[in-house]
C-alpha cells in the first residue's frame, strides 16, 4: 500500500481538462455530401428506364394495318416521340407492369403496384434532371418513393420469396431505416471515428504481440526439453526421487514436432502466395 502511495505521489497527476477537450489524433472528418431524396442512389433504383425506340408507335395503333400502309408523314403523327409526354410514361408503365403481373387482368396485386410506381418514379427522376425547379413533380416523386418503400416493407413481411423476386426483377435496393434518427454533427462523428481508430490500434497491437509470442514458442520448448533432461539426469545421479518422467519429456518433444510441422505448412503457404503474386 505504501509503495503504491509513493508511486502516486512521484508521478504528478496530469492536467486534465474535462470540457472542450481536443484530441491529438490526426483524424480528418469529411462531412458527407447531402444527396437529395429523389435521386436514384437514395431511392434505391439501380436500373434505368430502357431507351425509347425511335419508331415506337402509340400502343393503341400498334396493330393498325392501315397505318402500316400509310405514308411517312402520317406515321410520324402516330409515333410516341411526337406525342404528349404522359403517353410515353403510360407506355413505360404498361411495359413494367406486364413484366411482373400475375395474369393479363392483374393491375392491383402488390407486384403490379410496385412495378407501376417504379416506372413512374424513374420517369419523374428523368424529368427532375431536366427541370430541377419543378416542385409539383418533386413532391409527387418523393411521395411515390416513400410509398414504394412502405409497400416493399409490407411485402417483405407478407411474402419473402416474392419480395426478393421483385427486388431482382425491378432492380431495386431495399435498406431498412436506421433504428433512430440523429443529425450528423462534427463532435459525434469524430467520437465514432476515434472509437474505430482505437479499436484498430488495439487489434494491431494484439496481433503484433501474438506474433511475438509465437516466435518464442519453439525456442521455449527446445529449452524446456534440455532442462527437463538435465533435471532428470541430476535426480538419477544424486539418488533423489525422480519427478520428471521420460513420458513427460516425450510429450513435450511430440508437441514441438507438431508445432514445427504446422509452422512449415504455414510458411510454405506464404511462400506460395508471394510467388504467385510476383508471377
Amino acid at each position: 500500500m505504501n509503495k503504491l502511495l509513493t508511486i502516486a505521489q512521484a508521478v504528478p497527476r496530469q492536467f486534465v481538462r474535462e470540457y472542450a477537450f481536443k484530441s491529438d489524433l490526426k483524424i480528418k472528418w469529411v462531412r458527407p455530401e447531402k444527396i437529395s431524396c429523389i435521386k436514384p442512389e437514395k431511392s434505391g433504383d439501380l436500373g434505368k428506364l430502357p431507351p425509347l425506340h425511335e419508331d415506337e408507335l402509340l400502343p393503341e395503333y400498334k396493330d393498325c394495318k392501315e397505318l402500316k400502309d400509310a405514308n411517312e408523314s402520317v406515321q410520324q403523327l402516330f409515333r410516341l416521340s411526337n406525342n404528349a409526354n404522359h403517353l410515353t410514361t403510360r407506355y413505360y408503365r404498361d411495359q413494367f407492369v406486364q413484366e411482373v403481373q400475375r395474369h393479363p387482368q392483374d393491375f392491383g396485386s402488390m407486384e403490379a403496384k410496385l412495378a407501376k410506381m417504379t416506372a413512374f418514379i424513374r420517369r419523374y427522376q428523368l424529368h427532375m434532371d431536366a427541370h430541377p425547379r419543378d416542385k409539383m413533380i418533386k413532391v409527387r416523386l418523393k411521395e411515390l418513393i416513400d410509398k414504394r418503400k412502405k409497400f416493399l416493407k409490407y411485402l417483405r413481411r407478407w411474402d419473402y420469396p416474392r419480395f426478393e423476386w421483385i427486388l431482382e426483377k425491378l432492380d431495386l435496393v431495399y435498406k431498412p431505416p436506421p433504428t433512430h434518427f440523429h443529425w450528423i454533427t462534427r463532435k459525434e462523428s469524430l467520437q465514432k471515428l476515434t472509437d474505430i481508430y482505437c479499436d484498430k490500434l488495439k487489434e494491431e497491437r494484439l496481433e503484433a504481440y501474438h506474433k511475438q509470442l509465437q516466435t518464442q514458442q519453439i525456442p521455449y520448448l527446445e529449452d524446456a526439453i534440455n532442462k527437463m533432461q538435465f533435471v532428470r539426469q541430476e535426480q538419477i545421479d544424486c539418488d533423489v526421487p525422480v519427478t520428471v518422467t521420460e513420458q513427460q519429456i516425450e510429450e513435450v518433444r511430440s508437441e514441438l514436432a507438431e508445432l514445427k510441422k504446422i509452422r512449415e505448412v504455414a510458411d510454405a503457404a506464404i511462400r506460395k502466395q508471394v510467388d504467385e503474386h510476383f508471377v
Partner: protein, 155 residues
C-alpha cells in the same frame, strides 16, 4: 438460474456477431402511474453457428446450462415462424396475408397465368440477395463520414 433451461420466444434482430443471433423478447409492462401497458424489449444473444434464423423470424431459444461467453446465454432451439413464409397451423397450407397460396394460384390459372409471373416452386431459399439488394440482415446507419470507400450499410 443455470439449471432452469428456460424457453423463450422472440424475434430475431439484425446482428453482426458471428455464431450468434440477437433475439428480442417483447413484453408489456404496466405503468402504474398511467395505468397503461407499454412495450418493453429485452435482448438476448443466442448461440447459432449454422445461422438457423434470419432477421424477422420468430424463434424459440433455450437458456444454456452456463453462459457460453459474456454475451451468449441462450441457444436457438427452433424457428417457429419464418418471416414472410407462414404456414397455417390448422390446415398446414401456406398463407399470404388473408389468403391461401393455393387460392391465389387458382385465381391466376382461371385468368390465364402469365409466363413471367412469380412462381413459388422456382423461388430459391431466402438470403441470396443479402448484401447486394436486400440489406435487412444488418443494422443500417446514417452516413456520418466520407472516406472514399463504398459504405453499403449507410443510408
Amino acid at each position: 438460474m443455470a439449471a432452469r433451461g428456460l424457453l423463450l420466444m422472440g424475434q430475431c434482430m439484425p446482428c453482426i456477431k458471428q455464431n450468434a443471433s440477437k433475439i428480442r423478447i417483447r413484453r408489456m409492462e404496466l405503468d402504474k402511474n398511467l395505468n397503461m401497458y407499454f412495450k418493453k424489449d429485452t435482448f438476448f444473444f443466442a448461440h447459432d453457428p449454422q445461422k438457423l434464423c434470419k432477421t424477422g423470424d420468430v424463434v424459440l431459444i433455450r437458456e444454456l446450462p452456463e453462459r457460453m461467453t459474456r454475451l451468449i446465454t441462450h441457444a436457438v432451439e427452433k424457428v417457429v415462424y419464418p418471416l414472410g413464409d407462414i404456414t397455417d397451423p390448422l390446415t398446414g397450407k401456406k398463407v399470404v396475408v388473408g389468403k391461401y397460396r393455393e387460392d391465389i394460384e387458382m385465381a391466376n390459372q382461371l385468368f390465364g397465368k402469365s409466363a413471367k409471373a412469380f412462381d413459388y416452386d422456382k423461388a430459391p431459399a431466402r438470403g441470396r440477395l443479402e448484401g447486394s439488394k436486400d440489406f435487412t440482415h444488418v443494422e443500417t446507419y446514417i452516413k456520418y463520414h466520407e472516406d472514399g470507400k463504398e459504405q453499403p450499410h449507410a443510408v
